[in-house]
């Protein structure tokens, strides 16, 4: 860990701004050493080279599963016996409550029964029967809260820490901090749902004001990385000779400009591109996977959304296996009619969730099982999130639940976190977080912590502010750490 001022200056990317700030802060005694901004030293010619974390990490890479549309916690992972008991009665204090779409109906018990699972006996509903069998692997955070009750800002906050557009995504922060262990694949891959991109699209994986090299690269098992392949109209030989000639031109050009690292970086980027063409094609080629694996994920399902998501799950494992630093896997797309493309169950939650759960459950359970089987779970952190929760009531005059940012559930698994553990709690109905209330800042701080990063120090100067993933908030959720 770098603590001295000199170390910091050597480590920080130089820029008069940074030095001025540090000097200023030191002068005013405003920062303890453990809060001095740490900007990774980004070498322009190899920006993605692996960098050391701030302290010994528990995980080397992250799989973030994002269920877009706001998954109802009370119908999945947050068991509330009182909600079952008071089914059909009004939510106390709910008469005047105006949520996103308006007025509340009565409390409605979970639409799927909860049962004890695994050795821990953790109560999980029947909506996700395969994932439920893995409850012993999971560390639930039941006391999550979000800042917005609208999908756009909500999804922004879960992925970038800010409700507004234009802030770097968690994956971008992580690849900015740690670089990549694999130079032939992107450091950060985003895998959108087969039905389409999530609700705020690329803002989930954008680099915003961080250098573009740290943005997530979107591709799926069925839609390869854009512009990856040599166009069919160009033969292999033509392509090879063209690139040789290009190399010759560039080398010649660089000879008289020997000191310019920008030029050598660009030459190197073409070599990396060639390697990436091989590796990315290889990683997306699922044909070599054994039959049993395909069956476990369900890649051959007749339903194209189910098999598409299954292939994405399998792709995620292959990316993690090849040391891609951050894989963001989406289940649920942009809204294409209420509750059609994603988990936004306002009106007819039962039928909508049966559709979505059937897509999510088996492949994701297979992926988790597979990560465990291959040992990847030992140094991979899995984070399952959604932008906010849903109300324990039905909306007035409807058979679905409205948005609820006041309490919801996420879960973590794998490296650095407790197994079979539940952290925090909502009130008796699952309406508001009540015990050990956690914020998205806290969740992000925890993710960074498990990766060996101090969320208060990892920063990037943008327009007057040392920006952090966690803004000026966030505390590591010590209770979830193994």
């Amino acid at each position: 860990m770098l603590t001295s001022r000199r170390d910091f200056l050597a480590y920080a990317s130089t820029g008069l701004g940074g030095i001025a700030l540090t000097a200023l802060l030191a002068e005013q005694g405003l920062l303890a050493n453990d809060k001095i901004p740490l900007r990774p030293d980004i070498r322009p010619d190899s920006p993605l080279i692996a960098r050391k974390p701030h302290f010994a990490p528990k995980a080397k890479r992250v799989l973030a599963v994002f269920c877009s549309g706001a998954v109802s916690h009370v119908d999945t992972f947050d068991h509330k016996p009182e909600l079952v008991k008071r089914d059909g009665q009004p939510l106390p204090g709910g008469e005047k409550l105006v949520t996103f779409q308006g007025a509340q109906g009565n409390l409605v018990k979970p639409l799927w029964a909860f049962k004890p699972r695994g050795q821990s006996g953790k109560m999980v509903s029947d909506l996700l029967p395969n994932l439920a069998t893995l409850a012993d692997e999971m560390c639930f955070v039941h006391s999550m809260t979000a800042k917005s009750n609208t999908h756009g800002p909500g999804e922004n906050q879960m992925s970038t820490g800010f409700t507004l557009d234009g802030f770097p995504s968690t994956g971008a922060w992580v690849s900015y901090a740690l670089g990549s262990e694999n130079r032939d694949l992107p450091a950060f891959v985003a895998i959108p749902d087969p039905r389409g991109v999530p609700q705020v699209g690329p803002n989930n994986w954008g680099s915003a004001f961080l250098p573009g090299v740290f943005q997530g690269t979107p591709f799926t098992a069925d839609k390869p990385l854009a512009n990856l392949n040599r166009p069919a109209s160009i033969s292999e030989k033509t392509d090879a000779d063209t690139r040789d000639f290009l190399k010759f031109l560039n080398d010649d050009h660089a000879k008289t400009r020997a000191s310019d690292s920008q030029l050598s970086a660009r030459i190197a980027s073409y070599e990396m591109a060639a390697k990436m063409q091989l590796r990315a094609a290889e990683v997306a080629d699922l044909s070599k996977e054994p039959r049993a694996i395909h069956d476990a994920y369900g890649t051959g399902d007749k339903d194209k959304w189910k098999s598409g998501f299954a292939r994405n799950c399998l792709l995620a494992r292959r990316l993690l296996e090849r040391d891609v630093r951050f894989v963001q896997l989406f289940n649920g797309s942009y809204a294409m009619g209420e509750g059609v493309g994603n988990w936004d169950g306002h009106k007819t939650l039962k039928s909508q969730y049966e559709t979505h759960a059937a897509i999510l459950d088996r492949p994701l359970a297979a992926l988790l099982t597979d990560l465990k089987r291959t040992g990847l779970l030992k140094d991979t952190l899995v984070v399952w999130v959604t932008e906010f929760g849903r109300m324990p009531t039905f909306q007035k005059g409807a058979s679905g639940r409205d948005h609820n940012p006041k309490g919801f559930t996420v879960w973590l698994a794998g490296a650095g976190v407790k197994r079979a553990h539940s952290y925090g709690a909502t009130d008796e109905f699952g309406y508001q977080a009540a015990e050990k209330i956690a914020t998205i800042y806290d969740l992000h701080a925890t993710i960074l912590h498990i990766l060996g990063l101090n969320h208060e120090r990892l920063s990037f100067y943008h327009n007057g502010i040392e920006r952090r993933l966690t803004d000026v908030h966030g505390e590591v959720l010590e209770g979830v750490l193994a």
Partner: protein
């Protein structure tokens, strides 16, 4: 502190009785003088400021600055001069309740309490001490510094003050300027820099061979006078102001007429509009005959997903205004005013009240379109009127071909309903109420984009319009996306899915129009989406009733006599003769064309420049929380920085913005001129003199050449240096016969690009690299990669396909899509429409172009005053393999074949001339010739468009 020990006040006896003090009060009634700086300030600094200072403002209180301390915190005035007993500060430090008492851990001694009390009693004088506002460099007035005397005169170039500053600093570091670049390099540098395009081989030859000693200056004049200058430099400005043409957030719907602001910026730069005027227009253009300019205010993201939830609504509004406050502060002042939303600025003298004063300035501005007054306005209105008359005539003819509806008919004589347009003709009937009842739809909740009811007569008019006084009610409305679907859109005269009504029930629903007065009607026209993008949600079984009293209704038309609905069925009425059928088809096309023309004409008059209305009340918000209102705040400018200016509390919306603009553009403002000249410098050299171009505050970078920055700022506002224009005919400025007008940006450009500093070679040398690897001291011209936009433009330029048409709506690099959450699918086919300069790309927020976006294009989520430059393998893949690049490599090859003929040697030379503006070496010629022989000319073109020499400028 000895003296203080003797100070005591009767008023304070209760304090001592609390048992906190060690010393009993003395009965003296003559307060001894308390020295603020010596006695009070250190005490506050030591015991209070850690929680009530720049870092934290617990309870909203700040005790390190007079203005804040005297204002107090959330619970009231901390200090009431002359009245210690009324001062919360005293109450707090003397409270008996340990929970209430301040400081929470170590209570003050009685002596310390007496000091504070005495100070308040004596009037709480807070003498002016040196504050950040007094000390920080950028907050001091701009003073024109003397020009350093050159120690090593350069005879080759006429003296330019910029060089004197640069050379002085270089020699302090044992460095010097390099010789001037060769002319080929120079023209390439200059044209990319000023116009964002490569020079043609012919331009290069002419310049290289020019005998004229002023050839370079003439080139500068030519480029500065080129309209492409505005296109190049507008991009820099649009980055800094986060301009994009879609709303962002979830729906990210386009703003089809936001381009007016882009055109305004391009035009203003080309006209060399004085910068102060440029600023004033962007803040208050509505008062200055420049309506489109206020597109600046609303250029940021806007969440159109609305809700009955009041907290959400308040937060959304607060965020909208926050964006305007932040962008205004950063863009014009280089200050992060936005940082004072929750508490006083951590580094700069900007209080929370200052933030809310700014907020009150913008409190009348809302996102949306506004009618813009342009010179062309009257002509446009006339044209629209002419088109409308034509349309009405055509529709009359068209309708005549439509069979009458017959609600009691059993056979299906009429065509099936179609999503675009359906006409119901019937015998004239008197109606006050018209009801359209849907029983079945093709899918989901039924949608009607417009319901038109025509009065019978020779000149049929639509009497259902809200603007004609008609009113609409319905069985229920779709709750989502109210900006696209609402009842009001049923009869607003606007077509398309984006202005439509949708029912709240799948397959059914009704709407009813109450006409302004009972009218004889004979035709009703309706559609699901007259723009033809949407085919779903079509009412397929319906009935139309009319009534004069809303009691008795008669059915005038229904779907019963129509052919059953089938997707893609013909819309041509049944039973037409061949001639009628031809006429029908012709009329359909004519009507569609006319409608489009009308839409375009109407759209031309509206611009996404903000809706301006009476300002709403502005409150200070506790910790920036939109639900925690504190006191009302009047509009204001920053209280501690810049000239003083008072804005009347009841000023109108335009007056507020005009006042702020006036303050920002005051020649005495220390920031405005410094910030803009620094932006110009940044784009000429790659890095600004201040490397944090939108933050000149304490947290920003220090200037590398502070005197030069001030000299440039001063020269902008009070030009005294002759403009080296060779053949200009601009009127002389006040500084003398050859000096330009004040605030002329082109004057500063000209000074910079004619300097020896700018013209020097970019070659590296060991001495320079060792001392200053980043070339901040400018011992060489820093070479750099061109940005995404000039790169794409250059590709099209050399391929011969670039369309230099200026202005107007942009071209779209994404497939059309009308989902209410817009889906951005990159286009894979490109034609001439997409071959315009990239500044004219319809720029969606958060969605980058598939090919060039990876070259660090800003996403316009937040401001991007300085772009990153990163190098990634994905950029390489995009330039090698994208459809666009391959297509252009092909066009490039075709062009070269045309230019150079069949000889491969000549072709290679032409490729090098166009792309690199030079001849190939023998080695290059040989290698390139082989490549062409083996794989064709397009292979060479593809390689060259990927070459470092193509994408870098020396």
């Amino acid at each position: 502190m000895h003296r203080i020990a003797f100070v005591a006040l009767p008023l304070l006896s209760w304090a001592v009785a609390s048992g906190l003090g060690n010393e009993p009060p003395k009965g003296s009634t003559t307060p001894a003088a308390v020295d603020f700086a010596r006695d009070v300030q250190p005490l506050l600094a030591k015991h209070c400021v850690s929680c009530h200072g720049p870092d934290k403002q617990k309870g909203g209180l700040r005790l390190d600055r007079s203005a804040d301390a005297l204002t107090g915190g959330d619970t009231g005035k901390a200090v009431v001069p002359g009245k210690p007993a009324d001062s919360l500060l005293l109450k707090k430090i003397t409270s008996k309740d340990a929970k209430e008492r301040m400081p929470p851990r170590d209570p003050l001694s009685a002596a310390q309490i007496r000091t504070l009390s005495a100070w308040i009693e004596a009037g709480a004088k807070w003498p002016a001490t040196e504050t950040i506002a007094d000390k920080h460099w950028s907050f001091q007035p701009v003073k024109r510094p003397p020009i350093p005397v050159s120690r090593e005169p350069k005879a080759s170039v006429a003296p330019n003050p910029i060089d004197a500053f640069i050379v002085a600093k270089l020699s302090d570091n044992g460095l010097s300027l390099l010789p001037e670049s060769d002319r080929r390099t120079l023209i390439r540098r200059l044209k990319f820099d000023l116009l964002g395009l490569p020079p043609t081989p012919e331009e290069v030859d002419a310049f290289v061979n020019a005998k004229d000693a002023n050839a370079y200056e003439k080139l500068v004049d030519k480029y500065l006078a080129s309209p492409h200058y505005g296109e190049r430099w507008a991009r820099h400005w649009l980055d800094a102001v986060r301009f994009a043409e879609s709303n962002g957030f979830e729906t990210n719907q386009p703003r089809p007429n936001a381009y007016h602001y882009r055109d305004y910026v391009i035009k203003s730069l080309n006209l060399d509009k004085p910068f102060d005027q440029f600023v004033r227009e962007q803040l208050a253009g509505d008062t200055l005959g420049a309506d489109a300019a206020t597109g600046f205010l609303v250029g940021g993201a806007w969440d159109e997903v609305k809700s009955p939830d009041i907290t959400l609504t308040l937060n959304q509004r607060a965020d909208e205004l926050h964006d305007m406050i932040g962008t205004t502060g950063s863009t014009f002042l280089g200050l992060t005013v936005a940082c004072a939303r929750c508490h006083a600025h951590k580094f700069d003298p900007i209080s929370q009240l200052d933030y809310y004063g700014f907020k009150a300035v913008f409190a009348g501005v809302r996102h949306g379109e506004r009618l813009v007054r342009t010179d062309a306005g009257i002509a446009i209105a006339k044209e629209a009127e002419r088109l409308r008359e034509q349309l009405s005539e055509l529709e009359g003819k068209f309708t005549a071909l439509e069979p009458h509806a017959d609600p009691v008919a059993t056979e299906t004589r009429r065509t099936a309903v179609n999503p675009r347009l359906n006409t119901e003709r019937f015998k004239p009937v008197k109606a006050k109420f018209v009801r359209f009842v849907v029983f079945e739809s093709s899918s989901a909740e039924p949608c009607i984009d417009e319901l038109e009811v025509f009065a019978s007569g020779p000149k049929p008019v639509n009497v259902a319009l809200a603007s004609s006084g008609a009113k609409a009610v319905s069985s229920g409305n779709f709750p989502n996306a109210p900006s696209l679907h609402s009842l009001a859109f049923l009869h607003d005269g606007k077509y398309g899915n984006g202005r439509s009504w949708i029912s709240n029930k799948p397959g059914r629903g009704w709407v009813q129009i109450e006409l302004a007065e009972p009218t004889l009607i004979d035709r009703i026209v309706w559609g699901r989406d007259r723009e033809g993008k949407y085919l779903d949600r079509l009412p397929t079984r319906y009935r139309i009733d009319v009534s004069t009293d809303r009691e008795s209704w008669s059915v005038i038309a229904s779907s019963d006599d129509r052919t059953p609905f089938a997707e893609g069925a013909s819309a041509i009425p049944n039973g037409l003769t061949v001639a009628e059928r031809a006429a029908w088809l012709k009329l359909t096309k004519q009507i569609a064309d006319l409608r489009k023309q009308l839409t375009d004409v109407a759209r031309g008059q509206m611009a996404y420049a903000g809706k301006l209305m009476a300002p709403e009340a502005t409150y200070r918000l506790h910790r920036g929380d939109a639900t925690q209102k504190k006191e009302v705040v009047a509009p204001g400018v920053l209280s501690e920085l810049g000239p003083k200016l008072h804005i009347p509390e009841n000023a109108t919306d335009p007056d507020r913005r005009a006042a702020l603009a006036k303050w920002i553009t005051s020649p005495a403002h220390p920031l405005t001129a410094r910030v803009i000249v620094n932006r110009l410098w940044q784009h000429h050299f790659g890095t600004g003199i201040v490397d944090t171009p939108s933050d000149f505050g304490k947290n920003g970078a220090r200037p590398s050449h502070p005197e030069l920055l001030d000299w440039l700022a001063s020269e902008l506002v009070v030009p005294a240096n002759p403009d080296r224009k060779v053949g200009g005919n601009a009127p002389p400025g006040p500084g003398g016969p050859d000096t330009p007008q004040p605030w002329s940006l082109k004057h500063i450009h000209r000074l910079i690009v004619t300097s020896a500093t700018y013209r020097q070679s970019s070659a590296a040398n060991a001495a320079g690299l060792a001392k200053d690897a980043q070339s901040r001291l400018l011992w060489r011209y820093p070479p750099r990669r061109v940005e995404a936009e000039p790169l794409r433009d250059a590709v099209l330029f050399v391929s011969g396909k670039l369309d230099l048409k200026m202005g107007g709506p942009g071209f779209d690099l994404f497939e059309p899509n009308g989902n209410y959450v817009k889906v951005y699918t990159p286009k894979k086919q490109f034609g001439p429409t997409e071959f315009r300069r990239m500044i004219y790309q319809f720029k969606p927020r958060m969605q980058l172009d598939d090919t060039f976006g990876a070259f660090d294009c800003p996403d316009a989520g937040q401001i991007a005053p300085k772009r990153n430059v990163s190098t990634t393998p994905l950029q390489a893949l995009n330039l090698l393999n994208s459809t666009f690049m391959l297509q252009q490599a092909g066009h490039f090859a075709e062009r070269v074949e045309k230019d150079a003929g069949a000889d491969i040697g000549a072709q290679v030379k032409r490729v090098f001339a166009l792309a690199f503006q030079r001849a190939p070496s023998n080695k290059e010629l040989a290698a390139a010739t082989k490549l062409v022989k083996d794989h064709g000319l397009a292979a060479l073109c593809r390689a060259v468009l990927n070459a470092n020499e193509f994408v870098f400028v020396d």
